[in-house]
Structures are given as C-alpha cells and as structure tokens.
Amino acid sequence: MPAFQALNRLSAHELAARIAAGRATATAAVRDCLERIEKTDRRLNAFVRVDREEALEEAGRIDRELAAGRNPGPLAGVPVALKDLFCVKGREVTCCSRILEGFISPYDATVARKLKDAGAVILGSTNMDEFAMGSSTENSARGPARNPWDLERVPGGSSGGSAAALAADQTVAAFGTDTGGSVRQPAAFCGVAGLKPTYGRVSRYGLVAYASSLDQAGPFGKDVEDLALLLEVIAGHDPRDATSAPEPVPRYRDFLQADPASLTLGLPSRDTLKGMDREVAAAFRAAVDTYAALGAKFVEVELSSLEYAVACYYIVSTAEASSNLARFDGIRYGRRAPGVADLLELFEKSRAEGFGEEVKRRVLLGTYVLSAGYYEAYYGRALRIRRLIKNDFDSALAGCDCVILPTAPIPAFRLGEKIDDPLQMYLTDLFTISINLAGVPAVSINCGFTGGGLPVGLQLVAAPFREDNLIRAAALFEGATAHHLKKPALDDR
C-alpha cells in the first residue's frame, strides 16, 4: 500500500479543500483519475469518451490560476464525469446512440458551463442507456457498463456509467439525469449518493431531452456533503430554460449538521412497500431503525397511488419522448441513411438505422398513446393520474420533512436478466418514477449491503425546493453509519 492516498479516491469537498490549500494540484488529481480509468475501464466500460488532453490542459490552467493567487471557484481542480447527454462545446455528444455519432456540440449546456466556471475539470463522457431510456445501461450503442461491485451485474441506469465511474474512483464527482430514477437507481446499485433535484431547480439547457416534463440533471457524490456542494454549483434559474424556477439557491452545505429530534420522517404503509426483495427490505428496516435510534420522529403516510405510477410514467414519458425524438430526422445533424429516394424514406430509414431497440419501443409506445382514438384513454388518463400522484405526495409531505422509501425494490441484477422482458425492467422503477411525476426532489444514499456484497439504496423524498431537508436527513444517516465509506474490491479481481 502506498503511504499516500491517490487523489481520485477523495471526495470532491476533500479534494477541493486540499487543492485550495496548496496541498495537491489539479493536474495530479486529473492524472490519478486518468490512471485509474486506464486500469479499470476495460472491465467497467463506464466511460465512452475520455478527453485526456483537454482535461490535463484545463487542470494546468487551474493550477496556474491558483499559483497566481486567483480563486478559480469552489470546485477548482475537481475532476468530474458527465453522462453522454450533456452538451460540452467542441466535444462529441452521442447519448450512446448511433443516430448521434459524430455530433460535436456547438455550445455548452448550462450545467457544463457552471461546472467549468466553478473550476471543475471535465474528464469525459460516461456510458448510458441510449437517450436515457433504460434501467441497466444495457441499451447503449457502446456496449453495457458494468457494476464495480460485481462485474456480472448491471450498474443500473440510465446514468449507469456515471455511477460506476464514481464508485470505482475513476472520477471524483459525476453527473447524470433523472427522468424516472436514472440518477437514484444507479446510485443505489453502485453504492454512491445521488440526488434528483426538484423539477426546475437545475437548468435543462443543453441536455438532450428524453421527457421534458420529467427530466432533471443531478449530481452523484461519494458522500452527502459532495451532493450539497455539487448541487449548489449547478442549481439556479436560467433564462435559457423557460421551465427553470426563479427560486434562490441556498447554501446547501449549511444543512449538513442537523438535530435528529427536529426531523420527522414519513413512512409509507407496509402495503405500499410490498414486492421488495428480502435483503433490500431488511436493509430498509435497519435504516428506519437507525433513524429511530437517532431520535427522529415517524408518521405514517399514505401513498396508495404508487400502484399506478409505473403505468402512468410509461405513458407520459414515452409520449414526450416520441415528440422530442422527432427531431432526429437525418437532415440537420446525426446519421442519415445512404441511398434514399425520397424524404419519407430518408426519415424512416435514418431512424430505423440510428435508433436502438428500446428507443424504438418507447417512441412507438408514445406515438401510439398520442394517436387518434387512443389519446384520451391513455395519455389523457395518465395526466389525471399524475395529478393523483402529486396530490398524494403533497399530502404526505405536508406532515413530515422527508418521506423514506427504498430506492429500488431489488439490488443490482445480472446483465441480460431483464433485457428481453421490458415490462419486468420497467417494474424495477417502482419507487423512483412517482417522484419525477410529482416533480419533487429525492436523494439515494447507501444504507447497507446484501449478503452477496451488493449495495442497497435508501431514498428520501422532500417537498418541492426543500433539498435542504434531503441534505439534513441524509447527512444524519451518513453520520451514524459507515456504509458509504466501503469501496468495491475491483483490484482483487
């Protein structure tokens, strides 16, 4: 064992503090990450693109700024990885789809710009389910990513590459998007922390859209303090996103110290939580006991509408996707099928060649539920049920600071296990998707491991724009447990 700890193993706040104090350099941090990627990514396939030269150049620039006595920002020198759907000027963005291969973004997403302005160094792009459609990162044109805790298992999805990269210490922080659980579920499967902000909390400008009324970008962190720090950097109103909220951004790090006696958690009825894997249920109960032992208060909450959430979500999200993905027409950018005779053939063939199977499935489903004769029965109905779900969360959150739920009903599953049964795959999103439908914020933190050594996620849900409550509750749990400190034994394999 080396006497020093490689910088890639640090949390973002630890690394930022070290670099700011002159006890480490951005260049060394980036080098440590690149070395780790080199060593482990053949097995993980977490990155689809590593911008080695750009990252080292940017790190050098930040080191020179620091040497000159300037402050390059709260994330100065912190290496970050972005899911392959954040536009970064001059870099390829593909959403892990064949249809976008070779697309070089002409501009920065607001999240990317804010990260650059804060001094973060972008290492590259991470693997994902094509267009963020999936729960396992198996629907990637670049091949599946793997779970660092067990290489035969999925890292979750759709932001599986970001979660796997962070869990394996290939990066110090990572970002994803969450439309139905795509940050929280991979965070749970990979044993890291992940946060889905309130809808409108973070700008969607420059993020390739999947379902616009549900999509939110969110951070992955090695601990809760990182989530608070990273959210502070990316949150805020953006005139370029008309759906971003003009709410002030608090200093989320101020909520890391909380009095457990002031915390009230909403616990759903036993019936709501049925269908959980036995070991996940045990870890969840242990987490509830931890909070109880700390002195938190509990109230029972009624979330009976969760029963309809999966069906509602796969109507609303696919309807929006079918409309959003209409832009991939083979004309203005992206793949164009060769040798076509007319415009219709150009559209149909370019999309047939460019989209993978899950994307086709969802675009077709969305087209169907919006089509004449079926619109009211499916889409119209789903919008009423979305109201029902939101009302349930409004009532539940009126009586507590956070609702406590499992993140996923099962731990990471094996590659190939669910890929041929899309409905079974969709049902694994049971506990995460209602949160997007309600637009509320939620966090997933590690609350233990199965007997086989797979991480289990605990989910906390708060009222709109009450991310402070997520940070309070999550930090309390983390302070009383050590699950988040455990690392996968990748090197021993």
Partner: protein
C-alpha cells in the same frame, strides 16, 4: 371515440400504422417482437382504468410557471456555419434533402 380495451391495435397492421406515424421502418422480426411486447405493456396499463382519478384535473406540467418571458434584447448568436457543418449533407448555406417537389 374508440374504446382502447376492445382493440388489438398492435397486431401486425396496427404496429405498421404506428411505425408509419413514428417514421421508423421496422423489419418483419421487429414488428412481431415489438408488437407483442407493446401489447403486453399496454395490457399492464389497463390498471389505470381503476384509479380514482375521473374527477381530477389533468397535470401536464409540475411548476406553476406561466407565460415565461424575457426582455427582447438582441444577442449575437453563433453563426449558421457551425450548425450547418453538422449536417449529413449540405449545399452552400442550405441543408440538402432528396427532391420534395417533382419536376414537371
């Protein structure tokens, strides 16, 4: 209005119709596989009928934001060239597509 439950819309001709609307050309294998899977998924969605939501107002967007405007100030957008160069085919300052109007 048709009653969705009485239709089997994703038989081969149903899936072909939807694929046409979505502008995606499917192979015969895809039609069979996707048609069966989508029928399965739509069957699962039947459970929405029993949800107590008949009297609820539809919710299409979560934030109470309406008519978001900003001052109409000119800015200097990037030139068209950097967008045009992403096109699979172009001619001068135009995106190029197959003929749309037939010559007479």
């Amino acid at each position: 209005m048709k009653d969705a439950s009485k239709n089997q819309p994703l038989d081969p001709s149903g899936i072909e119709h939807v694929a046409g609307l979505a502008r995606i050309r499917l192979t015969r294998e895809e039609k069979e596989k996707l048609g069966a899977q989508l029928s399965d998924i739509l069957g699962y969605m039947e459970k929405l009928k029993s949800a107590p939501a008949d009297d609820l107002e539809q919710l299409s967007h979560i934030l109470p934001l309406k008519n978001v405007t900003r001052p109409d100030e000119p800015s200097s957008p990037a030139g068209s060239e950097q967008y045009l160069r992403l096109a699979p085919e172009r001619e001068g300052g135009f995106f190029k597509v197959p003929p749309v109007i037939e010559e007479t």
